[in-house]
């Protein structure tokens, strides 16, 4: 008996899902360019590569933005003080009293910040993939 290949089955299923997605987007008034099935597939492949294959921790754009990471979402709460004596008491109150009381709000915000950070990373990855595609096409057009 011949083997049924997982990849072959998945190729059929993925093609079917892509076609349904394309028709769904067109039906809802999406880009008319997607009437062209091959063009839609090319766009989907570029964006899909950015989402699935790029390592969000190793992107070029965040490295170029700024080295002091002021643009980056700060999900970590770091309690510090500049007061040498009173500072310890203030920190103790913040850590032992205020932080436990407001922890629910901090965690709620933190979860949403994490989601935003994930979206940012995906968008950075998409831009990077488009830039790579652009650079490659420019190089090929010059040959």
């Amino acid at each position: 008996m011949t083997t049924i290949g997982t990849r072959a089955l998945m190729d059929d299923i993925e093609r079917d899902v892509r076609n349904r997605l394309r028709r769904h987007i067109l039906k809802r008034g999406g880009a008319a360019e997607y009437e062209d099935e091959a063009l839609f597939e090319r766009v989907r492949a570029v964006l899909g590569r950015a989402v699935d294959e790029r390592n969000a921790d190793a992107l070029l754009l965040p490295e170029l933005l700024d080295s002091d990471v002021e643009w980056e979402l700060q999900t970590h709460l770091r309690l510090t003080t500049h007061r040498p004596v009173l500072g310890r008491v203030i920190l103790l109150v913040k850590r032992r009293l205020l932080l436990p009381m407001t922890r629910w709000l901090f965690e709620y915000s933190q979860e949403n910040f994490r989601r935003q950070q994930r979206i940012n990373a995906v968008l950075f990855a998409c831009i990077e993939d488009l830039a790579i595609e652009n650079a490659r096409l420019r190089r090929e057009s010059k040959r």
Binding site: I4, T6, M10, V17, L77, R78
Partner: protein, 388 residues
């Protein structure tokens, strides 16, 4: 040989993947070697609270040495330092502190390794991410064999691991994908083996009448393991409810301890921890086993499903489970909700293909994952480590 298996927690009632792997490998090693389990008193993987009595005990052929956890895990502190470390903003000292905060913090276990490490011919450490491996491997590096159980999560990229991964005398990997993830940081001549885990053939048809006692009816899709957001269970439950809402009569049965809320809905049945009899009966009757986890080093439940001829549906973003499924030709995978629904539809609508995928999975287990095959690879590695 006198062997030690060092693991963060140990017990027959513990559902974790690396813990189960350690237990079954240790039991098989004990057929030919003198095996000691070196572990903590913890049972709960979240708090590491002491549960088992400390000291020496005997479980079957295994001598078990348990050491107390000095302090339970402070989750807030752990989450805070995790944010720093995973965002690549942590200093080397903060990275090391992460391993302390992750725990289980058992200094007496390290003392034992320091004082008695040389009494063992080889010490196998499971899971690089826990305190016992990070701080224990350097104490006995020349005799240490690391079973990293590494996953493609943010921790694997932390710089502090360069030092750790350079130390062990040997490596045991569970899949080619895991080996790929770690090997770049391991000295090239370090012996290693990809062993996976062994399974016995299903001896006799399980007693499926127990499913009726639990109110489980055909057809159902099965999830086996910890019910946890890190295992992709939030995706699975949310989208299975949506799928069932489209009109198909199908139930999702989830068997395993839960650390998250399970929706109270007729389409989802959560059984909690189940005994081996129920587990076997579920595997015998399931149409499909779903594994939505994005991070795995080896999915034992995939092997168990194939052992029963059940095809699987896995998360394509997890290289390991996708790799296993493709090598076995034993199921399908999904990247998003639309593919999840389409792949599940396909498996439930094509009985013949579904059965053949399950049978191909079983043939793969027969080829690669029977105990004699797995233990021969491990024994060869242990001998190779010693002859260096």
């Amino acid at each position: 040989m006198k062997l030690a298996c060092v693991i963060h927690r140990f017990g027959a009632d513990i559902a974790g993947g690396s813990e189960s792997h350690c237990r079954v490998i240790a039991e098989h090693l004990a057929a030919n070697h003198d095996v000691t389990i070196i572990t903590t008193c913890a049972k709960d993987h979240v708090t590491w609270k002491n549960h088992y009595p400390g000291g020496e005990s005997q479980i079957g052929r295994l001598r078990v040495l348990r050491f107390p956890v000095a302090r339970p895990r402070d989750l807030h502190r752990f989450m805070d330092i995790s944010d720093l470390v995973f965002a690549d903003r942590a200093s080397p000292a903060e990275q090391e502190q992460w391993f302390r905060e992750n725990g289980p913090d058992a200094p007496e276990l390290l003392d034992h390794l320091r004082r008695h490490g040389a009494d063992y011919d080889r010490l196998l450490f499971w899971s690089y991410r826990y305190y016992h491996s990070y701080f224990g491997v350097p104490l006995v590096a020349q005799r240490a064999v690391l079973v990293p159980t590494a996953e493609a999560d943010p921790l694997i990229r932390v710089d502090a691991l360069d030092q750790l991964f350079a130390l062990p005398a040997g490596y045991v990997y569970l899949t080619p994908e895991e080996a790929e993830l770690v090997k770049g940081r391991v000295p090239s001549r370090t012996p290693s083996a990809i062993i996976g885990c062994g399974l016995d053939p299903v001896a006799r048809p399980p007693d499926v009448s127990r499913l009726a006692d639990l109110g489980i009816e055909d057809p159902f899709v099965l999830y086996l393991g910890r019910i946890d957001p890190n295992k992709g269970c939030d995706f699975l439950m949310r989208n299975f409810l949506r799928y069932a809402g489209l009109g198909r009569r199908i139930q999702l049965v989830m068997a395993g301890p839960s650390s998250m809320e399970v929706p109270n809905h007729a389409s989802i049945r959560a059984l909690g921890f189940v005994d081996d009899g129920v587990r076997e009966a579920l595997l015998a009757r399931a149409r499909v086993l779903v594994m939505p986890s994005p991070f795995e080093s080896l999915s034992m439940v995939l092997l168990e499903a194939w052992n029963h001829g059940v095809p699987v549906l896995v998360n394509a973003r997890c290289r390991v489970t996708r790799g296993q499924t493709e090598r076995a030709d034993g199921g399908l995978y999904f990247r998003n909700v639309a593919e999840f629904e389409a792949a599940l539809d396909y498996l439930l609508d094509h009985d013949d293909t579904r059965r053949r995928l399950g049978a191909q999975g079983l043939a793969y287990v027969d080829r690669e994952y029977r105990w004699p095959t797995v233990m021969a690879k491990l024994e060869a590695l242990l001998n190779q480590v010693g002859s260096r």
